[in-house]
Amino acid sequence: MTVINIKTPMSKEDRKKLKAGDHVQISGTIYTGRDAAHKRMIEALKKGSPLPVDFTDQLIYYVGPSPAKPGEIIGSAGPTTSGRMDAYTPELLEKGLGGMIGKGNRSEKVINSMMNHVAVYFGCVGGAGALLQSCIKSVEILAYEDLGTEAIRKIEVENFPAIVVIDTQGNNLYETERKKYLK
């Protein structure tokens, strides 16, 4: 199996090259955010306030890590279900977000918005929090610290394994792969 190494931030040109089914290893800065942080960001946009991060060409990782043990920088850190962020994602894509990392299906509205804004959706193995933690090299809380595990963190990752599940053309592995094994 070939693995494509990618570096963040990812330009539109870089994103277009990825195809659903590609196995990748992500290195560079990514941002964490899940339910409560998304809600707050969208509320900020509604009020005309700026987002805490410039998401242009950046990737957001849907994760709420467990606490770090003494001497470590972060706890277990696997993906959470992406579908809960569907209500908020199109607005972030409009602000330039280049892609998302999570697990599970996305809504039609999100996929259409991804196609309009040339964004990629990566899936990683749910529950593999201990393994994925070892790819995280630094962690900094950027915003909404009061949200605890749901705060927005800037994290540096090295060779973070993921699969392109929905590409910029809207090809969706959840649909294409299942058909091959449906009896």
Binding site: M1, G21, H23, A36, V63, G64, P65, S66, P67, A68, K69, G75, S76, A77, G78, T80, T81, G83, K103, G104, N105, G123, V125, G126, G127, A128, G129, A130, L131, Q133, S134, G148, T149, P161, I163, V165, L173, Y174, T176, E177, R178, K179, K180, Y181, L182, K183
Partner: protein, 280 residues
């Protein structure tokens, strides 16, 4: 009369919370190994291998298998001849959860009010179900329940005329809709009969039954086998990315019900399906 100290209960529950979140139970491990060797999809095989590798990392470094260390569900069998020496059983069980989640560096995922949503910061309260039984033993079973899978669960009040076919259909549709989000290969707990809440409770309890154990009633065991095969024919596969392993096990529990009803509840668990049991 046998007496038990609350400290013993607190310490035991704390240990169980950490154990359940860090180490995989034997039945789940065996079942995932079998899935890995039988998986036909290349993505699926790779994903199952990653899952097995992750268990090793979690065990070696004693960190949680998954960051979602769940909301704790507890089944407590309390022997009627047993006495708690120095306090409340409920308080001790809840204090044990708080201690385990603090000392084990487990994630605190519980909010105090479903609308206001402020974190309680110690993962309490746990949802505790009590049963008073003969004898003087205290049996505690804990299932830290992650919500990626919990959210894909469902309950329906079927009509008696829907029968076995209606139950099969509802279970399969629930699995089909939920598996990609629930971290497949999943475990499916099904409760049929009783009342609305009895069906839900049986579905939850069914998740804690070892995967190799079938329901002792022949027609229910046959339903379990049927559902396992039918769900694995859906093609959804590990993490929903295609394959022949969508479901690791289906456990069905039944209970007498009303002449007018056929309640069915489906509780879904991810492939980790954390459960630990101890007797004091």
């Amino acid at each position: 009369m046998k007496t038990i100290q609350t400290k013993k209960i607190i310490d035991t529950v704390a240990e169980m919370c950490i154990e359940a979140n860090t180490f995989l139970s034997e039945d789940m491990l065996e079942s995932l190994r079998t899935a890995e060797s039988s998986e036909e999809s290349e993505n699926g095989k790779e994903i199952l291998k990653t899952m097995l590798d992750n268990f090793e990392v979690a065990k070696r470094r004693t960190i949680p298998i998954c960051q979602d260390t769940g909301m704790v569900v507890m089944f407590v069998s309390f022997g009627q001849d047993l006495m708690i020496a120095d306090g409340s059983l409920e308080d001790a069980l809840q204090a044990g959860v708080a201690k385990g989640y603090e000392e084990g560096y487990l994630r605190k995922s519980v909010v105090a009010d479903p609308f206001i949503r402020t974190n309680t910061n110690n993962n309490t309260p746990a949802v505790i179900h009590y049963k008073v039984v003969p004898g003087d033993q205290l049996k505690i079973k804990i299932l830290p329940k992650g919500f990626g899978s919990e959210n894909t669960s469902a309950l329906k009040m079927l009509k008696p005329s829907d029968g076995m076919a209606g139950v099969r259909d509802f279970v399969i549709k629930t699995v089909e809709a939920g598996s990609p989000n629930a971290c497949a290969p999943i475990v499916v707990g099904v409760g049929v009969g009783g009342t609305m809440e009895k069906a839900a409770l049986m579905a939850k309890e069914a998740l804690g039954r070892p995967l190799w154990m079938r329901n002792p009633l022949d027609h229910v065991a046959a339903l379990e086998d049927y559902l396992l095969e039918a769900c694995n024919n859906l093609g959804i596969g590990p993490m929903g990315l295609g394959g022949v392993n969508t479901v690791l096990g289906v456990n069905v529990e039944v209970f007498p019900t009303h002449i007018a009803g056929l309640p069915v509840a489906v509780n879904i668990s991810c492939y980790v399906n954390r459960h630990v049991e101890r007797e004091l």
